[in-house]
Each structure stands twice: as structure tokens, then as C-alpha cells.
Symmetry: C2
Subunit: 392 residues, 2 copies
């Protein structure tokens, strides 16, 4: 029996393990240090009451014979797909509800969508980037080319007509840089994808954090995207579902390659390799779209974006070059005085007891940068920024 | 952009769609017919109180800041892995808890495990079989050979020393035939796998239905299996989790191919392409192993096995050749008078208003056979068998 040897080409990912080790070592040596973690992109606010109420009701339904639900639709319950469809319509995006597939999270969709695509495609990935894009393609043995996201292009690379790619990853608002594409910029990518008959995999996991109404929250706001893009969304950061697990994937019916609708391939993939998302979780996710749920969720996002503002203002006051924070929960700052990402990590940990994420962990172009997240508590964020001010 | 053209080699699966259509048409033409469905393998009893109580508590935890859980371990929470480990120990199987990976269902594991295996392996699949084994390998373009499960071998094929295979699927108790391998039979497969350096994928989704204490409930009861088998388990049929979604996959640390531990590959696969199972669902699953939960679950299994007995006895009384039903929720009967599976389907639907599953839907060797399931209600099962008696 032969293993998939592509796995041997993966670089070991020590980023968060190394961070954890360094923090533990420091804490052990300094037991009184009150460390504040603004590193990992996990949320801290609990599920909102509308969601937990809906889930409690669903649990009760599952415990009674008359209302028990067995196997659900592979593609998700209609009540959730229709709620998502309405939510898209509110952004001006017209989808059919059966173009939306419910999943157990954006990460799974980002990875699994590759099953329906040939291994013989050239993949374009921005650098720095969410590591899952790269690693899943290495596992399949695809050729990967990078496009540079740098301070010069405000971490928003645009297509290069001279480079051919078949599959293009875009993440906006971006993890890790917090940058957000405009309509005009996304339109350039859509035009490129149509010209090259490429497929855009658009990761919209952070769209709920966009404050500026002129910025696109879905790639489908760009004309022509329905014929060249798959969009992946998530309840993780929007509604605190990181440990509850629910996301979705839009595969428009007009997206056709080699005369085959990708919708048909994805339906077949999901019905064969997946058995749907827990009914209880889907009921919780649907509650996000009720009036009460939407209001509660908005309160959470406002809290996080308040943190982002506090961090961004502190950076601005001290003359740090930084990106993000206006329309995203990530602040991506340039390390001062030519320090490397890890040097700056050590300095912040040791001198201010603040933990962030070294930018070099997200790719070569992340070297010299540092990611802070707005997902901490308000009190911790304020305290961290006070320490930051003292430091400089 | 090129699609994965292996998908074009999949046969369209019309089995359950065709059944649904035929039943709908019949019901429309005969609105008063009280149709009893003993076809699809979905459960009908609700989640037991121990499970729903645990899930309600978990929902409450997720709604409070102090107890909220964000991202969980990719491989599942220790509380559930340890409970599974104790459950294996009770069968005499000694595992380490970190050899068990929690998933959102056995189907996903059965499909996803292929990610870590080369496309260049020969796959051995029994016929008839759960269609997911075949379809997922077609999607990857692997060479598939079949081994015949027939009445002559009691639907329990044994290895053929003259046939080489790298990956072997075994399902015991079997879906669809209800047959169960003995220790001695599984030992033959383990010996074959070790000789051929093959990998056995052992689907144990129905192990909880085994009544005969001499039959193996895990392939790891066979010495040597820890070095050649991955075992996949499920809460779906055991605890009614078909719509709640939780299963597990055992990848023993001693399972090494090409000098690489499969455990390491699977951990990397899961951490890259999966983000764990909902905390709420994992709490529910763990409750299955409490004293109260185990007792309640046992009651459900006893009810289903009572149904199986009623069906089997009816078949025996009428001189039908049948398999299964003693240690499995499936009864696999030979259609009378040389009828095909679909002819018999039509006859049962029209003359007794009973819906079953044509065996031909599970592979060529299923032709002339028919699957009935014990997952209906007691009353429906009794009523269906009374109609059956009237028919013959």
C-alpha cells in the first residue's frame, strides 16, 4: 500500500505550536506576568441568546419522537439555505437557494472544493496567506505560483496579465493582513479569471466586519463573478461559531468548465463524501438571520471592531505603519526598527506581556510584519494598548 | 481550469431517488394506501434523554462567556476520545486515546481517509456493498477489483491469495447483507493484509447491534490488526445520531507504510482540512458512555433488534432464504420465484404497501436480493409482517 507522498512535501507548521511553547516558557519563568493574547484568531464572546435559544429548541425536537430528525439533506436544510439567500439579496446578490451548500465550516469547504478540480491546474496564491490554501494544494500535488502582497500594493495584489493561473485564491477582508479589495479591484480579478477560464475561490469569512458600505461583501457584487467564482462563507467569526461549526459554499449554476456545471460536481462530491451538518447547529445558524439574532450579532461585531479601532489608533499615534483594522478584525503592523517578526514577537512578549502572531508564519512576504487581532475582550485590548504605549 | 474528470466515470446513483419516485407515484394513485417504509437505513427513535440533557448543558455553556468554547482540538475533545478508549478497552482492545480521531460521521472518515493514500493503489471492494466505498475511489481514479459476496459464502467473502490488493474494505456487521465476520474469518483478512502490506478499512458502524458475544465488535480484537487496519465507528445507528453527526476513526500508531506512520498523515490531513466537531455534539456523544446513557441506548438497540427478530421469523416461517437480522439491523432476503430485485420491490409496494431496498442497488451480486431494515417503529414492523403473511 502506497501513501500519498505529496504529504511529505508539506512543511511542518510550527507557527502556533512555537507561539504556545514560547508563551508557556515565559509564563513559567515569570509566573506573575499577566499575559494578554491577541494572537490566534479565535473569538471570545459567547454565542448570542437567539442562537442558543434556537439550539435548545432543536435539541428538544431531537429528543422527541414526533419531531426527531434523522439524515438531513446533504446540502443543508432549506430553512438555512433560504435565510442565506435572503441575506445575499440584501447585499444585492441574487442567488437561488440551491446554489448555497451548508457545511461544517469554511476551512472544510476551502479544502474539499479541490476534490472536484483536476490535479493538473496551476494555482495562484497570494503571499502572505492563510496557510490552508497552500497546504491543501501541496497535498494534491498541484503547481503553485505566488503573487506578492506587499506594503507597495497595500497587500492587495492585482492580476498580472503575463502569468497564467487556473485556480485563484482571494481572501477579502484578508487574513492575515486585514486589507479589503474594492469593487474595481475585484472586477480586475473577475476579468482575468474570465479571460483565462480560471476559477476564483473567494474566501469571505470576514465579510461581516466590513464597515464601509462602498466595499464589496461578496464577490458576486461584481458583474460576471457568477460565471467564474465559488464563494465560501462562515458563521465562525460573524457569530462566534468557531467551536460550533457551520459555514457555506456558493457554487453558482452558471459556473461551467469543460462543459460541466461545477454545481453538479459539488453536489455529487457532497452527497458522496459528506452527510450534512447537525440539525441543531443549522437551527442555531438560521437564528443569526432573525431580527433579534441579527441585532445581537451586530453588537458582537461592534465590540470587536471597537477593539480594532483602539489597536489601530494606538499604532497610528506611535507612527507604526499598519494595515487593516478599519474593515477587518486584524491589524497588520510593520515591526519597528527593521526587526524580524519573531524578534518583535519576543520583544512584545517580554516587555509588554502581549502575544501576537509573527507575520512570517503566513509566508515570505509576511517577514517584518506582525498580526494583532481584535477578538480579545475590550478590557484586555485596552490594557494591552496601554502597555504598548508605555513601551514606546 | 480543468475539472476532475474522474467524476465523469461515476454512475448516477438513482437508487433512493427511484425508490422515492415510485413510492410517490403509487401514493398519488392510491391516496388511502398506508405505506410502511422499511427501506432507507435511517433510525426512527429520538435521541435518548442522557444525550439531550448533555447537549442542553453544552448549549448553555456556549452561551456564557466564562464557559464558552471556541476552536476545539481538530482530533476531538479528550473527554470523548477517552470515553471511546474505555469503550474499546471493554471489548478487550487496548488503544491510546490519541489514536482515536473524532469526526462528523463515519461516511466522512470512510471518504476522507483516501486523501492520505496514493491514487496508485489497487482497491478491493466486496460486491454488494455500501456505494460510498466504490464512488470515492472512482473520484480519485483508483483501480478497483471486486470480491464476490454471495449466498455461497454467506455474503462473507474471504481473501483470495492469488489476487493482490493494497486497500481492502470490510464492513461487519455488513450493510446491506447483515452478515457478520467471525474472529477466524477476520484473522484471514488480517493475515492477507500483512502479507500484502495492504491496508484494511474496517467499517464498524453497526457493531452495537451484535448480540452474539463470540463475534468480534472491532477488528482490533484480532491480533496483528493494529499494524494493518484503520477502523471507523459511528454514533449514527448506535445512538440515533444520523442527523446529529458524530463518528470516529482509529488510526493506530503502529500502522506504518513506506516508513511513514499513517497516524501522522491523518493528523496532518485533519488539522489542515477539518476544524473539529461541534462541542455541543461531542458532549452529546460522550453522554452515550455514561451509565444512564448506555442503558438508554441499549433500550433503543433492543427495540430495533426486536424488530429484526420479527422480520427474520416471518421470513423463516415462509421459507424465504435470508441473511442477517441476528446481529445486525438489516435483513437481506432472496426474492422469491426468481424475481429481480426491482420486480420484488414493485410487488411488495403494490400488494403489501411495504417499501424496501432492491439489492441490485448495492452491486451486481445484489440482484435477486432485497434489504429490509429494523429501524422502523415496532408497530409498523409488526403491521408490515402481518401484511407479508397475508401476501404469501
Amino acid at each position: 500500500m502506497k501513501i500519498n507522498r505529496n504529504f511529505l512535501n508539506l512543511k511542518d507548521s510550527y507557527l502556533f505550536a512555537t507561539i504556545g511553547q514560547k508563551v508557556n516558557d515565559y509564563q513559567k519563568a515569570n509566573p506573575d506576568a499577566a499575559i494578554i493574547r491577541l494572537g490566534i484568531g479565535d473569538v471570545t464572546l459567547p454565542l448570542c441568546p437567539a442562537v442558543t435559544e434556537a439550539m435548545k429548541e432543536a435539541v428538544a425536537e431531537m429528543g422527541a419522537r414526533e419531531t426527531f430528525r434523522g439524515y438531513g439533506p446533504y446540502e443543508g436544510y432549506a430553512f438555512l439555505r433560504e435565510a442565506l439567500c435572503v441575506s445575499y439579496a440584501q447585499k444585492g446578490v441574487k442567488l437561488q437557494s440551491d446554489e448555497i451548500f451548508v457545511s461544517d465550516g469554511a476551512k472544510c469547504d476551502v479544502a474539499n472544493i479541490l476534490d472536484i478540480l483536476s490535479g493538473d491546474n496551476v494555482v495562484l496564491i497570494p503571499d502572505p496567506v492563510y496557510p490552508v490554501y497552500l497546504d491543501t494544494n501541496i497535498m494534491d500535488g498541484r503547481t503553485v505560483v505566488f503573487c506578492d502582497a506587499t506594503a507597495a500594493n497595500e497587500f492587495l495584489p492585482l492580476p498580472d496579465a503575463g502569468t497564467h493561473a487556473d485556480i485563484i485564491y482571494l481572501c477579502s477582508p484578508n487574513n492575515p493582513t486585514g486589507s479589503v479589495y474594492t469593487h474595481a479591484q475585484l472586477a480586475q480579478w473577475v476579468a482575468y479569471a474570465r479571460e483565462h477560464e480560471a476559477l476564483i475561490l473567494f474566501d469571505a469569512a470576514y465579510e461581516a466586519f466590513i464597515q464601509d458600505p462602498s466595499l464589496p461583501r461578496s464577490i458576486y457584487e461584481v458583474p460576471g463573478a457568477l460565471e467564474c467564482a465559488v464563494e465560501i462563507g462562515s458563521f465562525s467569526k460573524t457569530a462566534g461559531f468557531t467551536g460550533t461549526r457551520c459555514g457555506w459554499c456558493v457554487v453558482p449554476k452558471g459556473l461551467i468548465r469543460e462543459d460541466v456545471p461545477l454545481h453538479q460536481l459539488w453536489m455529487r462530491r457532497q452527497s458522496t463524501k459528506f452527510n450534512g451538518v447537525s440539525y441543531i447547529v443549522q437551527r442555531g445558524a438560521a437564528a443569526v438571520f432573525t431580527e433579534e439574532g441579527a441585532r445581537q450579532i451586530r453588537g458582537h461585531i461592534d465590540m470587536y471592531m471597537g477593539n480594532a479601532k483602539i489597536i489601530a489608533q494606538t499604532m497610528a499615534v506611535h507612527g507604526f505603519a499598519y494595515f487593516g483594522g478599519d474593515n477587518s478584525p486584524y491589524i497588520w503592523l510593520q515591526c519597528p526598527a527593521g526587526m524580524t517578526s519573531w524578534q518583535y514577537f519576543d520583544r512584545l512578549l517580554e516587555q509588554a506581556n502581549i502575544v501576537g502572531t509573527p507575520g512570517s508564519g503566513f509566508g515570505a512576504n509576511g517577514e517584518g510584519f506582525f498580526r494583532l487581532t481584535a477578538f480579545g475582550s475590550h478590557a484586555n485590548t485596552v490594557e494591552a494598548m496601554e502597555r504598548f504605549q508605555t513601551l514606546f
